[in-house]
Every structure is written in C-alpha cells, then in structure tokens.
Symmetry: none
Subunit: 432 residues, 2 copies
C-alpha cells in the first residue's frame, strides 16, 4: 500500500441549475463543455447533475456532490429575476449572509450607464449580492460575475452564469488558472492531440487508422467524433510519472497525419474557416463568395473571425436566377441549358463574384438543400461547388445526405475545404 503517499487525482462534479434545463427545454451544453474542460485539466469527473430553480434542491445537490467531489462547478441561476436562486441557495448552504459587493455594484452601474440607463434597475441589483467571503470572478461579457467559495470541509464551489459565451470565457480566463494553482501537483492532465478531418466518413477513417497501426497504438487511445463539419480524431494518453506518454502520442499523431493528409486541416479552434483565413493571409490573397443554397452560411463562417476583413472582401447571396444573372454575370443561356445546379453555373458564380469584388479567389456554391426541389437526376443534397483562383477553376459535385440543415452545413464545409486544399497544395508561396 504505497498509494496513500501518492497524490490522488482530484475529483470534479458539474451541476446545472434551471427549470428549463431540468425539464429539457434547454439542452445542457454548458455541462458537457465544462466536464470536457475539467477532464482535460486532469480532474476525474464523478457525475453531472441538473436540478430546477429551488433553493432547497440546489443546496441538497451541492451537499451530495461535495461528499465525493473536491470541486463542484455550478452554472445558471445567477441572473436578476426571482427564479434565479443559486446565489441564495449557496449562501444558505454555507450559512453565510449575502452582502452587496462594492466592485460588482460599480461594474453593474457602469454597464447600465453605457447602455444609456440611469443607474441599475432595482431587480438587477441582486446580481451584486455575494455570499460573504466569496471570491469574485469578473465577467467582462455579462452582468452577473462568477463566484468561488470554499466550504468548511475543504471543498470548492464555483458559480458561473448560464449564458454559454459568458460561462466559457469565465472558465477559461478565471476558473482554469485558479484551479491549476489550487490543485498544483495533484492534477495530471491527459495529453491529447486532435486531428481535424473533413470529407471522409467515420467508418472509412476508422479503417484507415486501424490499417496504419496493425499492432495497436500502445498507451494511446483514439476516439472518432463525427459532426456535420467532419470527424475529429482525438488521441489521448495519460502520461506516466516520467512523462513518457508524450513521445508515444507524437509518434501516433505523426503517422496519422501522413495517412490522412488529403482530409486534414489545421486550425487552433477546429474551424476550417479559420484555417482558410490563415492560408489566404499567408499568400496575400483575397476572397469573395457567391452562395445559393448555403444562403450566407459561408460568408457568416468566414466573418466569425476577427480580422477577416484583411482577406474577405464580401459575398453575394444569389437565391434567385435573376440575382445570379444580374449580380454575378451568370449567362441566361447557361442557366437555361445546364440548370442552376450545375458545374458551369457554380464556376461562373465563383468567377463572377471574384470579379465583382476584385478578389483573387472566388467561391461559388449552388445546390438543392431541400426539402423540396429535388429531381431524379438532381436529388435533394446535390451541390456543385467551384473555386476560382486567378484564372484557374476547380469544381466538384457532392451528394450529401440528411435534411436541409445538414446539407447546408456540409456544403459550406466542402466549399471551404476545396479552396483550403488548393492553397495547401500550392505550397507556401503567394501568388496573391
């Protein structure tokens, strides 16, 4: 029995608060995201729980989770309305009074003044109430701050707002460093590499991976995580005391990168639009996009990224044939002869939009997203995608499964990938 001297892996639990969460009106994406984040940090997750907006129930769940967990991260119930009960529940659970917090109140006042309001509305003042002794985690994106509280028996309770963007920023900026410092030396984070692939089905991907490692992957475990943008391949290892896992992980990741080359893309966020932006910028290239069935989705994804105005000039959503003609210069005879969903029209759209915006690269997308509009020859899910890059054209036809949403998401991803691969194949040298 030497384990008693070993540092034990700290345990975390995640508690979601809100009637809408409990009753299924809102899906608990916060809980999933937090569990993944805490697990990546090196915590063992014991369980996740969702309860309704009731002080007694919240306090009961906390009590129960703290029997096993060193940290309980709670989301939701910190807003200004009477059904926001988390602050009161935690104060009651800890037997501490709620007190107005000067800095939080000052932040609230500044926030409402910036929106042109005179002072903080009475109801919103509850957001400045803080259980005595709590550490305040400032929330730059929203009104309610996060809170961290030590419990008498040594556990830690962290309260975060339920709005996902606020919760995520608070976790990354405040909670993560705080937990790393608090549990220093006890956390043994999993090491992982994620390879982002697109355009290859999960089953074929898994077979390629199996063939590449006939002897298995040693201590590295692999997971295939499919979504509408492609399949993420996650490689995970828990390093031993000497940190040996890392070499093994690198070796597996390198082998896979070779095997999957034509389907891979590299972006810190996992978003192919970010990867394409980086590739365009590196070449001093500029992009314009003409969309029909994707209806603005590609433009939106590109402009999700700050700084996209450096390489993205704009786009045209040409839903009608008339718009394809008058804004993109697609010939009426071509539309008549080949149909709006055709290689030729996609190519003309790509060329036309590049010309319109004076961009060095153009993308054209035309297809049938459904549910209506399909024919035997061109069923729902048929999409033509074209890229234009200074005089050259590439195009491909896709046949996507799924409903309208799936077809649109997959078509957007495929279009971004067409141009991204082209840039990567051309090497690093810019031709603008």
């Amino acid at each position: 029995m030497t384990t008693s001297l070993e540092p034990t892996v700290p345990v975390a639990a995640v508690l979601g608060v809100g009637d809408e969460l409990l009753l299924g009106a809102t899906v608990d994406t916060n809980g999933s995201w937090l569990a993944a984040g805490l697990s990546d940090l090196g915590f063992r997750i014991c369980r996740r729980v969702q309860v309704g907006d009731s002080e007694a129930v919240i306090a009961g769940a906390l009590e129960e989770l703290l029997r096993e967990a060193d940290v309980v991260v709670v989301t939701g119930g910190l807003g200004p309305t009477p059904d926001d009960r988390t602050r009161d529940a935690v104060a009651r659970f800890l037997g501490r009074p709620l007190e107005p917090h000067a800095q939080v109140l000052a932040d609230l006042e500044a926030r409402y003044r910036a929106r042109g309001m005179e002072g903080v509305p009475p109801m919103a003042r509850s957001m400045a109430l803080v259980p005595a002794g709590a550490r305040v985690l400032p929330n730059p994106r929203g009104a309610a701050p996060g809170l961290a509280l030590d419990t008498p028996r040594g556990g830690l309770v962290v309260l975060l707002p339920g709005i996902p963007s606020e919760m995520r920023e608070l976790f990354l900026e405040e909670v993560r460093p705080f937990l790393l410092a608090r549990f220093e030396g006890r956390l043994r984070p999993l090491l992982q590499r994620v390879l982002h692939t697109t355009g290859i089905p999960e089953s074929l991907l898994a077979e390629s991976v199996q063939r590449a490692f006939p002897q298995g992957m040693g201590g590295v475990s692999v997971a295939f995580l499919p979504d509408l943008q492609g399949v993420r391949v996650r490689l995970v290892v828990r390093p031993d005391e000497e940190g040996k896992g890392e070499e093994e992980l690198d070796r597996v990741a390198d082998t896979l990168a070779g095997v999957l080359a034509g389907h891979l893309y590299t972006s810190p966020s996992g978003d192919l639009a970010e990867a394409l932006g980086t590739a365009l910028k590196a070449r001093g290239a500029t992009l314009a996009v003409a969309e029909s069935c994707t209806g603005g989705l590609v433009c939106r994804r590109l402009t999700d990224w700050p700084g996209s105005s450096e390489y993205f000039l704009g786009g045209v959503v040409a839903y009608s044939n008339q718009a394809k003609r008058s804004l993109l210069g697609v010939g009426a005879d071509l539309l008549e002869e080949k149909g709006a969903v055709s290689r030729e029209v996609a190519e003309e759209m790509a060329r036309g939009v590049a010309w319109r915006f004076g961009a060095s690269v153009g993308i054209g997308i035309t297809g049938i997203a459904g549910p209506g509009g399909g024919t035997d020859e061109k069923p729902v899910g048929t999409v033509w995608i074209a890229g234009w890059w200074q005089g050259e054209v590439r195009a491909r036809r896709e046949r996507f499964g799924g409903g309208r949403h799936e077809v649109r998401e997959r078509a957007a991803q495929s279009a971004l990938h067409l141009v991204y691969r082209w840039m990567e194949e051309s090497g690093g040298k810019g031709r603008g």
Copy 2:
C-alpha cells in the same frame, strides 16, 4: 390537512449512462428529450444525472434517485461491448440474477440472420440477458430491447438504449402507454404558453411583468429564458381537478401579450426569421438584405427556412467600403463624411440592396462587431440598422454589449425585428 387524501403528482428522474456523456464528448440530448416527455405526461421531474460506465456508480445513482422518484428512466449502457454496464448494475442493485430471455434471443437471432450472419456473435448475446422478472420492451429499430423493472420499495426503473432514434421510438411506443396505465389518475399534465420577446433586457421585462400583476399570477408560474435572440417568457400551470388552470393561463398570457406588445413576435419555432418570413409572405412582399458587420448571418437565418425563396431574393455581404459603393450604390462622399457606421450609410444600404434585387423590402446593417475598430464616439457594439419599405425608411442605432459573436447575433435579431414590427404595425393588408 386534506392533502393526504389528494392524489400526489408522481415524480420522475432521468439517468444517462456513459463515459462519453459524463466527460462531455456527447451532449445529453436524450436526457433533455426524456425530461420534456415525462414532464408533458404530468410527472414532476426531480433531477437529471449523468454517470460513467461503472456498475457501482450506476447502482449508487439509482439508489439515490429512487429515494425521491417513483420512476427512474435510464438511457445508455445496454449495448454489446464490455463497457456497457447498465444491465449488470441494475441486476446487482435489485439482487436478481441475469437470465437469458428466450424471446429476446430469438429476436436477436432473426436480426443477425437478416444481415446474412450465422447466429448471434458471442459478444452480442449479452443483450439477451435480462434481470429476472423484468418486463421486456421490444425495440424494432435496434438490437437491445428496453426493460422495465419494479423495485422492492415500489419504484419503477425503465432502461432504454442510448441511440436517440431507438430511445425515442421505444419511449413513445412502449414506455408512454405503460406509464399512463401505471399512474392512471395521478398524472396531471402541465399546461404552458411561451411568449417570445426581443429587444428588451431580462430585468426590465421581469419588472413589466411584475407591474402587470401586482397581486401575483395565481397558480401560473413564470420563467424568463434569455439567450442572444431575446428572452422567452414561459408561463406554466398545473391544472386542478376541474381543469381550471387553462383559463387562468389564457388570462395571464393575454394580459402579458398586451403589456409586451412592442417586443413580441409569434413563430412556432421561436425563430424570428420564421416569423418575418410569414409576415412577408402574408403581404406578398419580397426582401433583400445588405450586411456589413453581421457578415451573412441575417441571410443565413432567413434561408434556414424551407420555402424562403418565395420571399427572400438574396443579399450582399459588403465588408469593404468599395463593395458598399460598387454593389449597393452607397455614395463615396457619404462614406467619407458620415463614416461607414452611420444612419445614412445603413439607409443607403437598405435602399440599394432592395433596388439591386428588385425587392419591396430592404435591410441594411453596418456596425462594429469588434474586437478591434471601436472609437470613443463609436465603441465596439455600435450598430446602425435600417429598413426600407417601398420608399419609406426606418433606422435605429444599437449599442450591444458582449464580444464579436454576441454583437453579431444581437444585431441580426434587431434587424429582423425592425422589419417584423413595421409589418405588424402596418396591419394585415399587403402593400407588397
């Protein structure tokens, strides 16, 4: 004390089993769906829990949930692989042996034969093991059946597979009628109304609601559910024996609809883009959209809806000033004098895009989504939104909080709302 003779509302809990669920690689959509389904049936939901693939942990969670719940519905962990532990955990928890079930085994054999396989693979035979005394719920879509088990203390445990399509069909076809029969006379389904609002902060909304009901709302409870699109106001009542709740609910909903009129919209999905589409169609109007900071988001939201080509003609994403000039006809002098983020430019964009596409309605959006680009006079979050409707123009300035994502989402919603309100105020009569 007359309550002891009243039928009490039965309590249900939902337990999700699986490491991928616990660790956040998979979002627990099953749990949300089941909680909504059980709640609609008239159960009070006490809590939802997710645990990993461990017999002891599953059994512990069951024990705990059955202290409060009359029914625990469990999903996941019924498959054929060694990490599927739910069957064993429940058998252990109930102290009953696992026995091969003749009918389940026969179904499995038929299933594998139909796929051209000789008999059931050894690993898959575990799916025919059933805790003694369990009721088998046949699963036409998959291999693992559902199971229902009575516990010694009168609770009921229902096991369902984790694959969403199988789980849903089993719940609707087998579990729902079984529960309705079992709890006959005790279930009293909730009634609810949802009012969708936008453009009013949660705290002001809650204050308006409070002012409208100085005496409270009787048996109706209200929840405010904010997201980036606005705040949903959910009214819920549990009707009494005579079904009296419904009148009360209608009365409260009608009063609120009057109080909140300027901020309401009506759409079955809760999406304002759907509501605007319906309003445009009713008037025979057509729409074109010019987007700068929202970068295609408004176009994408409009084209999310099947049939949008009936009223949506297209749009221009004019990220650069040059594009605003050449595609939308915004004057160079105007851009110079007023700046790209100004009332005048938004109005010219709305007018220009309507003209370009030959639409009866135009929307123009220009603003600073951040993180860069803000000034003292026009900080990040400043957005000008304009609508053009056959010669008339309306515009408003917004100052949104939050980061790039939040500003863009809020700006898109505000733009849709500007035109939607305009249409609603004009009455039902079309002017195209």
